[in-house]
Symmetry: C2
Subunit: 165 residues, 2 copies
Amino acid sequence: MRILGIDPGSAFTGWGIIEDKSGMLKLLDCGVIRPKGKGKENFAERISFIYKTLLEIIAYYQPEESAIEQVFTAKNALTALKLGQARGVAVAACANFDIPVFDYAPTSVKKALVGVGRADKEQVAFMVGKILGVNIKQFRLDTTDALAIAVCHSSMRKFYALTRK
Amino acid sequence: MRILGIDPGSAFTGWGIIEDKSGMLKLLDCGVIRPKGKGKENFAERISFIYKTLLEIIAYYQPEESAIEQVFTAKNALTALKLGQARGVAVAACANFDIPVFDYAPTSVKKALVGVGRADKEQVAFMVGKILGVNIKQFRLDTTDALAIAVCHSSMRKFYALTRK
């Protein structure tokens, strides 16, 4: 079972592919999608770039399920609109390959990994490193966040399968 | 030149295809995409539905350019996140066919059609009907808004071509 975790953002979109072999998790690949340019002018181009890069990643690794961070709040409406659009293209990329998308609130991800819903990003990153057995120092926090969502989904998916009818 | 206008929304996404033959505008088709279901649970499914329906529309009518309403404000962050995601899948659907996406602020659309930036939706709808020579009574305001964006783009695109290098 391959899981794609995505931490969407219009400036940095973190992504990670993990493999779940009967509970043993392994990191396959991960990274950050960083569209060039700034400003409103080419915002559509920037999120198109995120979309197309995700299409390439999915086509290459062929994950069977994806988990994307669900966000309910943002600093302001403009930030929320940008974040929403980045999330939208991530969902669209998965829909393009008919990969089911699972939503996790940031607190659920933190709880699944660290045990508390208010853990900070560094604690989450540390646990991602422990669980996947990799040195996370080399990764950005966007990447470790994406991996955390994938790890969270790997532990929640059985539960999801039971309750989601 | 075929133009696709989109008025994105997670509950109702209006769309319209117009044809511009040396300045003469003609309505080809239009409608509203209305995903089933409500609530957070299946939000990803709902915006995937918008995405897939737009893919079908684009594949069928093969527009050469698209215009999508750019929004900078929303009632609150949650509304903005939902709206942003609907806009994101619209941009992704266009990116999938390499159709350039042009952004227009609601005030620009109103100004282009009615002459004032603060015109209400009904006035915009009335002008859409006049310009395209159709009875707009049969359409929802989401649809006439989408058509308005397409009409706006048809008049702005020459200007865009001159200034956008």
